[in-house]
Amino acid sequence: MSIPGLTIIGESINDSVPSTHALFEAHDIDAIVDLAGMQAEGGAAYIDVNIGRRAPAFIAEVVRKIQEHIDIPLSIDTPDPEIAAAGLEAYDPQRAGNQKPILNSISEARLEMFDLTAKQPFIPILLTTESVDASGEGVMNKTAEETYATARTMVSIARERMGHIPNEELILDPGIMPIGTDAEGHFKRLMNTMKLIHADEDLKGTQMSVGLSNFTVMLPSKTADGMFVRSTLESAFLTMAMPLGLRTIIGSVKRKYRILDNDHPALICLQEVLQLEGTAALVRVMRYYS
């Protein structure tokens, strides 16, 4: 376990990971099961399962085979209601110590996915980065205030549709964006969104989750002299976000996540980035790894 109190949803079984995509294409279910086992041993609390755009029957097979060997719960990761239904129906809570699966994720434009709770009770990840406008079209939220408003809306809809589910069984996804191209202040918005959610009494107990690897995508793993770049920046993010209520990430069990000391250069870097705008924020990130 890397950080006490941090729940890791293992990210590796995802169609957008090229090596996993190849396993899916080859229908190599044994290797997929191994990937689940490796993540469970590495400390994942859940195993994410994202099969991309394959047939619903395929996720059912993957879920059953993983559960024959692994006793931790799964996170069914798809926007497709049919794939979600097949994955949830195939899931057997008894094989996971009676724990519910996670459904990743439901947005305001896909509310019908709440009804899948009749097939299999689940813990939903609620997307807060997009909402629907008056004409029913999905729109991306632009400010922390808009994102927070969607979080509140999604929680109240979840309570209606899922029979007064407790806050502890709701996960909000405040949306994380790559820091390496962030000249538009997405990081600032994310931190402010988390602050607003964390301070809201009505949302007390809800969890928050982000896909942490996305934060450092396309940055170098290490500097020329061997200092870790991506993992320290991710750890710096956790150091800043956990006091704001972040308890869950979709991430890698191979990364050594940790809480950094106040004077760690990665932490200082992110704190300074919050004060900068436009390309100056990018230049600050570059200075960290150059």
């Binding site: 169609d15 957008s16 999905g138 964006m177 995508v217 940055l219 990018l282 570059m286 790894y289």
Partner: protein
Amino acid sequence: MQEIIEKIALGVEKGKISKASPYPPEMAGEDGAEEIAAEALRNGIAPDSLMTGCMLGMERIGKDFEEELVFIPNLVLAAEAMNAVMKHLKPFLDSGQVKQKGTFVIGTVAGDLHDIGKNLVAMVIRGSGYKIVDLGVDVSTEKFLEAIKEHPGCFIGMSALLTTTMENMEKSVKAIKEASPETKVLIGGAPVSESFRARCGADFYSPIAQQAVTFLNENLP
């Protein structure tokens, strides 16, 4: 002339946007792409050569990026430096004195906020002499269709980073191909593949931005 082309290329490659930009530190206080372009035009240098300088600079930084000598923030800064030059070229582009090869309309599909891939492709294609119409992120099918009407003969580029939004990409590609069969549609993004391209009916897919340029050059109207 050659000297100006090289100066512009260096400014773009290094991401030295203007004299005031703090990056790169070793060029502090020197003129940036902004000032070099303005002065060149004042001195009667042909605007075409500024364009050539941009293309050269983008080609160099693109190569360094592919070889992992530099990373994504450098590309963003290089594009900003190129944009500073292009701003000065705008009147010549508008009047037709400087010709661009064609128009490339690009956007991230509906429901998807990711813009790294889209911006990277837009940068490379812009740096290869095309006019870029960037529709941004979360672009609806209707917006793509409007852009085709507005820019006759344009190419369409679509990006999606989520397996969740590929569905929207497929819908948009199919709608465009139905409304305007002759419009060439290029798609890309981490979850996109050649088999997906074949299924949705797009004309081109590649995981490498530079290959899109080759496709465009071969398919000019």
